[in-house]
Symmetry: D2
Subunit: 301 residues, 4 copies
């Protein structure tokens, strides 16, 4: 997203005058504040505010566990312990507020995470801009033949051109009509709350989104995952990069135990133990279904 | 929404065989179960399940307040007392699950109520039907000139025809293109999760939506209100009718204290007291802004 | 609560070194950070962190309503408008984290507000201190004769002395036994998670409690209210004072519309309109129950 | 808990008259309705109401995934797939309401699960009964020497007798004083909201507790776990038994993937792969801390 000179000036103005505070400060996050990290063709993620840092997690845990935490030598060890044992409340003591610009169909996935505060741009009050997500040709992929919710091969050049053409043309037409419906020149002008229904779901919207670190990690685990749709994953990855700068110790623990971890079923544990004992195990005697076995082999095969 | 013979048969089958239960039963709600109450041109609200009735609210309150509730003579009085004093937890003891078919732009407003459970039809997995909300001409209104988020006059016939024409044509074109993108005849076929972005927001989606009675009342207060957008209000009104049959005592208290009630500010109380004393009060000496004064007069003027 | 010299030194150390930040800063709140505001005999409320200020509320609202908010001349007017119309999401954009020391029976009321993040001192891990809430004689009141959950007359001197004696003695005995159970001198020493069950509910616990401004206002409306139990009300009042310094415009709107406001039922509106018309209205022809009528007269009588 | 004849009669009356319903019915759950399953010395768990069964989970998933679920042959396979892939929303479509009698210190742990609806007996309104949890001698264990929040050896007979003596005596004394404070014979009688603070945390309270199946599973995973305190674990185990009868397929998936499963970190995966390759791995070259290594060996050693 190329920012306008006005927007750049506004961001720089917001960054121009540091003020003294007695609160916990994360240097890594201060470097991100207000700046627009571009995502997709017109989107962005901006950090508007944050509360707490790695030490705030530790501090909250020590309130809970009192003398019980003294034997853990250092902050990193304590944070890893909390993550490993699913002690989530200390991570809830950090909070972040983001300004995100994103296509509507991405917003619809995103909003399913209910434990967040949201202020979205209202198309009842205001007029949406003429900005649509048009994928890069390299992102135009066929329906996966093995996964009902995934992508397969990248489309051929001709097919991709045809798709892009339809997307661009329908976006242009629907937005032209949106403007014509709203127009009050020589006519009454349709209410904004009605005219918006003509717009396709690749139009961009924007919102302020605020959540705590525990719920942010949950969001990242699902949305920065390889199975998430590309168009939301790139937002999650951008937020993950920011989070790493904000709370480096917590993020490292999250990477080790959540993003890089796997959950094994009782059946999978039993199979692994047999394999460790040198036994040979086939799907047929694993107790797992074919689907489970395939997923098991993806990690251990 | 005209149901297909298959759908009617399915509903009648679900209603054909009552089974015995020891749970609280609301006769009023049993009459609604599974039936599709039509809303807008293709939408509906169906009750799929419910938990509790008026007596369940009373029962929960008596657990909380023990002997303290004995002096309230009857269930109706207790329910009114709870509503009047914002004792919300007994109302949370009732739960309802609805199947709703609704346009996407309505779903986007609705989902902002976060304290509910939702399972929405996924356009990543499956293909959406060719069904779009096209307003009745009587609902095509101009932008309000006094309210940034409201409607004003109904559009003239010519203008209305022009708007309907654009809505219908863009819906048809975008859906044709959606199908052409997905098609695998002689081509790879674009992934469903991508093709859907071409669809306008008046396309219908559907979901299961489950919430408790306290949060349902909150939803109804905001969405069955005269200031809510017509297209969500008709859903709220349909749900309100169902709710009235489900928990008649609680609904009557809700109507009296919430839907029909108003909240007065400290300033408005002071003004009313002066008026009751026979004083004459003008906006200028009311302590209220012009906007507040106008809203005050709407009720008391 | 008299702080120990160590605690005072720790607070002063935390306040000694301001650091630069680019975030929104509330000067009023900076003055409170880390300081212990005493409540009851051993309790306190301390602000540990905060996010946002009045301008953050306005900023979020302007994202939502876009051009729609331009006609509101100033921040104060916009904040009052949001509060009046129950637009709660902009208030959710501010967050506060408190460190609270409080008796267990107060904590049990407080925790019923579920929309907050909590890290409580764990008596499974650690040993509780010998600190109990012993009311001031002026707070020892008889059961109300009109209100099942309220207090009536202050106890007479003799009766009050008798009560204080029992409270003090039982606290001392139960804590002595707690220590004797835990002791490992010459015995195995009972597990902390078991020994704690002997402690009475006026013992002090502590927690970190974090919530957003919208939910904080909801908490204050219920707990700073005259009907709340004195022992939680004094905490709410202390938090209200801090909140007023943090977000003065939002707090003023809250005072006018919530704390100082009342909600009228449809029946009460009808009665008030008749009174404004000069009619005489009695309970019998008001449509209200005796309880409602009494509450109505408390405001309007 | 020995039920009184009155209570038994009340339960049997509630079970006497089945009524017809068109809702989903779980035969396994009908058998539990209203019956008190005893827990600890005076506690119980009773099912008061429920919504949905295994087929309701499947039904909600099929709404979400539409044609995408057709390839899964049967309900069991689909439920296992949902559980394995953390698709939690279909499990949220089932709801249960329990009546639980439990000691206050157990209630304080339990209430930390915030995603539930609760109506607790109020000691502001009403007088608590003289019922205290007094552990069985076999449950009186010493503080663990390796785990800050666990139990070690069972206490010796003499020590155990001494502890029981203190618990019983302090319970009796504090309750005697509670009654004396409340008494209005010849005195004013202290307000109930004050007198209750003298009671120790092993006194019993009761509540209605309502939650959805997804959150119930989360509760069970944490509280039916071997690391949970015995006194809450016995409640969780009782609820688990009930849940197994209610939704047998979902419960079996939960047992396999959650209760019997483990989560491996990226480091643990790497170590297991080396072991599967026949390598020898020691803690020193595992990349894990001593604590992690010890926990790893508990499963794989």
């Amino acid at each position: 997203m190329p920012l306008s000179p006005d927007q750049i000036a506004e961001i720089e103005a917001a960054r121009a005058t540091p003020r003294p505070t007695l609160r916990a400060v994360s240097e890594g996050m201060e470097a991100h504040l207000y700046r627009a990290n571009p995502v997709l063709d017109h989107g962005f993620v901006r950090v508007i505010d944050y509360m707490g840092d790695d030490s705030a997690i530790v501090q909250a845990a020590r309130v809970s566990y009192g003398a019980g935490t003294k034997h853990v030598q250092n902050d990193e060890g304590l944070i890893r312990y909390l993550m490993r044992h699913w002690h989530s409340t200390p991570f809830e003591m950090c909070e972040v507020k983001l300004h995100v610009k994103l296509p509507v169909f991405v917003a619809r996935q995103w909003i399913r995470h209910r434990t967040a505060n949201v202020n979205e741009y209202s198309a009842r009050y205001s007029i949406l801009d003429r900005e649509f997500y048009i994928p890069e040709p390299g992102q135009l992929a066929a329906q996966s033949t093995v996964n009902n919710q995934g992508r397969g091969e990248v489309l051929s050049g001709a097919e991709s051109a045809r798709v892009l053409d339809m997307l661009k043309q329908d976006a242009a037409t629907s937005y032209d009509h949106y403007e014509q419906m709203l127009s009050q020149e020589g006519q009454q002008g349709l209410a904004r709350e009605l005219a918006r229904m003509n717009l396709p779901m690749n139009i961009y919207t924007q919102w302020y989104w605020k959540t705590d670190l525990h719920n942010l990690f949950h969001f990242l685990r699902l949305r920065a995952d390889a199975h998430a749709q590309f168009e939301i994953r790139v937002y999650a990855e951008e937020i993950a990069r920011v989070t790493k700068d904000w709370v480096p110790l917590a993020y490292a623990a999250f990477e080790d135990y959540r993003m890089g971890g796997v959950t094994l079923s009782a059946k999978a544990i039993a199979v692994l133990k047999r394999l460790l004992n040198g036994e040979n195990v086939e799907q047929g005697d694993s107790g797992m279904s074919k689907g489970e076995w395939r997923e098991f082999l993806e990690v251990w095969g």
